[in-house]
Structure formats: structure tokens, C-alpha cells
């Protein structure tokens, strides 16, 4: 029996798209929260954004199903207006990965932003730099190592997502069966050899991703020192 490689492509597609979304959304949410002056709103929002990290993935999946399922508010809206079913489709794997990896990106970015000397931002302001320019050239640039490590963690989390994906996207071969799903399915069916192939692939992908991102952040840091 030859190995079905579709889980590899599905996982690569899901992890790539979800890290793209998570990276930018996490970055701007973190920026917004750092700028927020009201402490109680800050705490509440932080709690909501961090929740997927501390809840069991199946519980997050339960909530997602409740929102994106065929009877859920957003799920129903998409069916009624676009005749698109979100739950148990490929897009559901992306949603699950984004929601589960988001807290890692958001928290890392926020921590990295808070480490940047606020005088630098004020200096930028008195020098007439726009808030947008200050964000990219000063805040983002100086927080980059922390942001990249947040990106690594989020990417790895998205790639390995299982529980919430199982709840929202299911385990449909060739459609929503990602690598972790495939490993589970093969082991459940007693095909340890097949499962081993998937395990090797996922270890290699994860390792390469971490290597690339670490390499970038170390080089960037060395440059200024």
C-alpha cells in the first residue's frame, strides 16, 4: 500500500495560510492592546485573547462549532448568503489553526512591544514620524526577535493542531485530514508504518521552520550589536 501524501499538502496549506493570518492579526491586536490606556478593558481583552491557550482544544472546538456550525450565527450566515459551508470544510482547518495559534503570537508580540523603550516612540513622534512609520520602523523593528519567536511558536502550534480541528473540520480524507489527523487515523487503524511516514514528515517540516526563523532572528540581532 502506498502512502497517501494528501495530508502533507493539506497541512502545509493550512499552516501557511493560518500563520499568515495569525501573524498580522496577532501583531495588530498586540499593538492595539499596548496602546490601550484603560486597564480593566485591557485585562478583559487579554483574557479573551489568551483563552484558547489555556482551554482544552476540544472546548475551543466546541465553541467554534457553535459559532461556525451550520446552525451557528456565522456558519448560518455563510450558508444563507454565500451558500458556503464552513464547518467540515478545508477552511475550518484554517479557522481552528488560527484560533489555537493566535494566543502565542499575540502574547509574544505584546511582550516584545512592551520591552521597547517608550522614549524611542516619543522620540519618533517629536521628530514628526507618523504613527504608522513609528510602528514599523521603531516598534516592530526593535521587537523583531520576540515577534519572530512568537511566529515560530504559532506556526508550530498551527501545524500540530488536532483537537479543535477534529471538532470543527472533522477527519475527511483528502479534504480536512491534516498530518496530525492522519497520524491518529493510521495508528487507530493499526498501520504503524504509515503513521511513521507522517511522523517523519511533520518532524522535518517543524524543524526546518524553526531553523529558518531562528536563523533570520539571530542574523538580524547580530547586525546591530
Amino acid at each position: 500500500m502506498t502512502t497517501d501524501w494528501s495530508p502533507v499538502f493539506i497541512s502545509m496549506k493550512t499552516a501557511s495560510l493560518s500563520i499568515f493570518i495569525t501573524f498580522f492579526v496577532g501583531l495588530f491586536v498586540a499593538w492595539g492592546l499596548v496602546k490601550l490606556k484603560n486597564d480593566s478593558i485591557k485585562i478583559v481583552l487579554d483574557g479573551i485573547f489568551t483563552l484558547p491557550l489555556v482551554l482544552p482544544p476540544t472546548v475551543v472546538g466546541f465553541f467554534l462549532l457553535w459559532i461556525f456550525g451550520v446552525r451557528g450565527p456565522i456558519g448560518k450566515f455563510f450558508i444563507d448568503f454565500f451558500t458556503v459551508k464552513i464547518a467540515f470544510s478545508w477552511s475550518a482547518t484554517v479557522i481552528a489553526a488560527v484560533v489555537m495559534s493566535f494566543p502565542l503570537m499575540y502574547r509574544s508580540a505584546r511582550g516584545a512591544f512592551e520591552q521597547v523603550d517608550s522614549n524611542l516612540l516619543d522620540a519618533g513622534r517629536t521628530l514628526g514620524m507618523s504613527e504608522w512609520k513609528i510602528f514599523w520602523k521603531i516598534l516592530f523593528a526593535n521587537a523583531l526577535p520576540g515577534i519572530i519567536s512568537g511566529g515560530i511558536l504559532a506556526y508550530a502550534r498551527g501545524l500540530g493542531e488536532f483537537g479543535a480541528t477534529a471538532m470543527l473540520a472533522g477527519n475527511i480524507a483528502g479534504e480536512t485530514r491534516t498530518l496530525p489527523m492522519a497520524v491518529y487515523s493510521e495508528v487507530a487503524a493499526g498501520n504503524m508504518g504509515e503513521a511513521f511516514n507522517y511522523v517523519i514528515v511533520i518532524v522535518i517540516i517543524a524543524f526546518i521552520a524553526i531553523f529558518i526563523m531562528d536563523y533570520i532572528s539571530i542574523r538580524k540581532e547580530k547586525q546591530w550589536k
Binding site: D122, T126, L127, W224
Partner: protein, 226 residues
Amino acid sequence: MENKLLKVNIQKELKEFDLDVSFELKSRSLGILGPSGCGKSMTLKSIAGIVDPDKGIVSLSAGEETVFFDSDKKINIKPQKRNVGYLFQNYALFPNMTVEENVACGLPKDDKKTVSEMIERFHLNGLEKRYPRQLSGGQQQRVALARILAYGPDVILLDEPFSAMDTFLKEQLRIKIQERFRLQGLPVVRTFPELKSLMTIISNHWIGELFSKYPKRFHLTSLTSE
């Protein structure tokens, strides 16, 4: 040369005391002295728009009057629009940018001339491609000053300057800065951490009188230079 007039009258409630400062400054230098935590930096930050006072007015006249801040009229111009040069205590150089990039950051992209002019004026030749971490304290300060002057500010605020520099350069630079500011007719407000350094630095341009009732109140009354 037009004369510039900086008017400051601000009140702000702080944790340990209430800050209450008022002065008028006409194209000259003004020194604010006092122990750390007495509100010197807070005063400068209020002028620059980094901190908002609770009450009061900050305005600058250069031909016509520009109101930076007015609590009654609810005016509060962004720091970006105030055109104030602020030297931070730690210089606040951008660690991810070279000397050149730091000096150029407030300028339009194609303005290479001003950058090289400032590099020259502040003896930074040969250091253009260095990062702030690779510079000495004195060099860092000169970069910070070059960056401020490149931007062509209407007012200069120096927060505890000249503490980190070696004496010779300090003296040279002090004269240079004063000449430069005088030529531009810019009001300069600077803070001094202690009385010792005060006597040598402000003796030749200090006019006015200053009251500091620390810690209850930090009060500068109607200082009009000239």
C-alpha cells in the same frame, strides 16, 4: 530673523506633588534645575506633547501664535505637529538604525544634504554606518543632537544634557550649539540635574529668576528673558 516666543503655563497633578510651571521665553536659553523627580522632564514633555498637562496653555509664536495646548479650548496638537526638538536623557537613538538613518529619520527621503551637513557639524564623519551600540556616550549624544537639528525645530528641549560627555568636547559642543541656536533665534529650554554643573554652563546665558519649592510645588514664575 524672526523672534520666537514660547509661552508655558501648565498645571499637572503628579503622584508626589503638583507641578505648576509658568514662563515666557524669547529666543534665548532657559535652564530648569532641581533634584531628580522634581518635574523637570515632565515640564519638557508637556511642551513637546508627550505628556498632557491637566490644565494650562502652551504656545509658540513665530510671527503668528501657534497654540500647542489649551485645556480651556480643548486644543492639544500632536507631538508630530509641534516641531519641537527633544533631547531625551538616554538620547533615545533607534538601535536598529545606523547613525545616518537616525539623523535622516525625521526628514523627507531625498534630503541627503541636511544629513551630511549635520554629520559634518557634529563631528560624526566616519561613523555614518555605525549602530548606536557601537558608539561612546558622547558620540551618541552628538548623534541625538544632530538628529534634532536636522529636523529644523522651532524650540529645543534638552533634558539633562552634557552629563555623559568628556569635558573637552563638552565645552566645544556647548559653544557650537549655542552659536547655532542663537543664529536660528531658537528658544532653548534645558534641565540640569544638579547645581554644580549649573554654575559653569548657564552663567553666560542665564537670565531670570527661579523658584523651586520642592517637593510640594515646582514653580517657575513669569520668566521673560532679554
